[in-house]
């Protein structure tokens, strides 16, 4: 944009040079912070990495007293809660996006969009507080009995329901990532060219057919990106999960059992951790950072690819 002007000046005046260097330094600070985090976490986890090695990733031990710690139980917990959350909020989020783009008049679009953004503004700790004291008992009274009577034979719904459980935590997570999924899905669906819609409608399709057979397939990459991004948010969510999931580092089989995620175990156990345990917790933090970083990169690449080349090469 302004680059060509820079080449025109053979000798920049002092003010311009100073400012450009200053701006560059501040820009580089972002890289410095990112690499600083990776570097510092790597160094501070040397104790744990040396003791456990790569096996840390798939060990299910979690016995602090015996000094045997592995990350698998919390990785498992993170993945399960994030997947359930994205399934629930993906359906609702795409529905909201469809409503906002295909159906709603402009004013409704703005109001509903604003309200969904309000959902995102509520602090995580408040979701946790509300989740454990208000939602969990309500679920126990009104939703769980219905699930138990219809699907109680399934192993994932086995056992008695307690307020602090994987089930409740996943639902609260779904609520929390909904704004992210809905917002990106809306942008993506809005970007689908009208020619696709008109073509489908001209063939006599219903609105639903137009949406499911023309719009969604076209927006595939972008919507997938939105879902993955939502999953990344769910994986990194700490306070709400810590208060609701029960913090039991086990490979739970039923959703009504308690569990733990990477973020929740760090928040829960950090206070009294020393030495090897502390190092192990930091290593879990490093793994969490790596996973969410990769998820974010992958998701943004997908969304970026969609906005540039929606059908991977086929431009309409």
């Amino acid at each position: 944009m302004m680059g060509y002007m820079g080449k025109r000046f053979k000798r920049e005046n002092a003010g311009d040079l100073l400012f450009r260097v200053l701006a560059l330094l501040f820009g580089l600070s972002i890289l410095a912070i990112t690499f600083g985090i990776i570097f510092e976490l790597w160094i501070n986890t040397s104790l744990s990495r040396e003791k456990f090695g790569l096996g840390f990733l798939w060990s299910t031990d979690f016995n602090i007293n015996k000094g045997e710690i592995g990350a698998l139980t919390v990785i498992y917990g993170t993945v399960v809660t994030a997947v359930i959350a994205i399934i629930l909020s993906g359906l609702v989020g795409i529905g909201i996006a469809a409503f906002l783009v295909e159906i709603a008049p402009r004013r409704v679009n703005r109001v509903v969009g604003f309200l969904v953004e309000l959902l995102a503004a509520i602090p995580s700790i408040v979701y946790g507080f509300w989740g454990i004291f208000a939602l969990a008992p309500w679920l126990g009274e009104h939703v769980v009995p219905a699930i138990k009577s219809a699907l109680g034979w399934l192993p994932i719904f086995a056992g008695p329901y307690v307020n602090a459980s994987v089930f409740t935590a996943s639902i609260v997570l779904a609520i929390m990532i909904l704004p992210t999924v809905a917002a990106i899905s809306r942008d993506v669906i809005e970007a689908v060219p009208d020619s696709q819609r008109e073509g489908m409608l001209a063939l006599g399709a219903t609105r639903w057919e137009m949406f499911s057979r023309a719009v969604l397939p076209y927006a595939k990459n972008g919507v997938l990106g939105a879902l993955i991004l939502g999953m990344g948010r769910a994986a990194g969510e700490t306070m709400a999960v810590t208060l609701i999931i029960g913090n039991n580092t086990q490979l739970f089989t039923s959703l009504f059992q308690q569990g733990a995620t990477m973020a929740s175990v760090i928040a829960n156990d950090f206070g009294e951790a020393h030495g090897l345990f502390l190092s192990a917790l930091l290593e879990i933090g490093l793994i969490l950072f790596a996973i969410t970083f990769l998820i974010n990169v992958g998701a943004r690449l997908l969304v970026w690819v969609f906005f540039r080349d929606p059908r991977g090469g086929v431009r309409v």
Partner: protein, 267 residues
């Protein structure tokens, strides 16, 4: 299809209403003089969050002082000088960093500052919050500054005004509304953050007006402690603190959006 889509909207708005009404209802019941002026109690009833309110204000203010200049300048870099490959790299990394778990910022500062300077502090908390603010402010600033039409830049340069002065005195003021919006939204978000503070400010049951020495009480941490308490009285205070937190964040959010009412541009 209309029914399904409309149903999704309802499904989304029901929890929003549920959270807001429940927190408002329970929280307002906890608001009394002692709540706003007293210190937390560990058991029994009563107690307040006065130290947390002050602590949060101090910490967020300090985080803003650190994070806003860095974030805005980084955004200006990305917009005005960031057309090359380095700019793309920084942009991509900044985008990704807007999504990192806040707890990672906390344990990073814990290792960097708390372990090395011997203790929890409000300053460490402010640093961890600033890390969360910087990428978000950078990207939002870039977005708004980019919108300033090139004609304005060219007119200024055409008058012989040096490039740096063009940016500082012409471009940025045009984009100021949008920059302020982005900054306010970012401040609103970090004001409610809890996880990073667990490892940096740590929280306290007493007043602390010095952010550089000793654990700093924080409102979100007090909500967290209340949630884990067995005493109804303490939980009650937690509801009040949760309501206060939600109000602070919502007001900042609304302020940010209203400040954007008259979009910047054209002088």
């Amino acid at each position: 299809m209309t029914a399904l889509a409309a149903a999704s909207v309802v499904v989304a708005l029901v929890p929003l209403a549920a959270v807001l009404f429940y927190v408002a209802f329970k929280g307002a019941a906890a608001w009394n003089k002692e709540f706003f002026t007293g210190l937390p109690t560990l058991f029994g009833s009563g107690g307040g969050v006065a130290n947390g309110i002050v602590g949060t204000l101090i910490t967020v203010a300090l985080a803003s002082i650190i994070g806003i200049p860095i974030g805005v300048m980084a955004g200006i870099y990305l917009s005005e000088y960031g057309t090359g490959r380095l700019g793309s790299l920084i942009r991509f990394v900044a985008d990704t960093m807007t999504g990192i778990p806040s707890i990672v910022a906390g344990i990073f500062i814990y290792g960097l500052v708390v372990l090395n300077t011997g203790g929890y502090s409000g300053f460490a908390g402010a640093l961890s919050l600033a890390i969360l603010m910087i990428p978000v402010i950078a990207r939002s600033t870039e977005g708004v500054v980019r919108l300033v039409p090139d004609s304005i830049r060219e007119a200024s340069l055409g008058l012989g005004i040096p490039r740096w002065k063009t940016i500082v005195r012409v471009v940025v003021p045009s984009a100021l509304n949008g920059i302020v919006t982005g900054v306010l939204l970012s401040v609103a978000r970090v004001a409610g953050e809890t996880a990073p503070l667990l490892f940096t400010a740590f929280g306290s049951d007493y007043f602390n007006l010095n952010p550089f020495k000793g654990p700093m009480p924080e409102l979100p941490l007090q909500v967290y402690n209340a949630a884990r308490s067995a005493y109804q009285g303490v939980i009650q205070v937690g509801w009040g603190a949760a309501l206060l937190l939600v109000l602070m964040v919502l007001v900042a959010n609304l302020l940010a959006r209203l400040a954007f009412r008259s979009p910047g541009g054209g002088r």
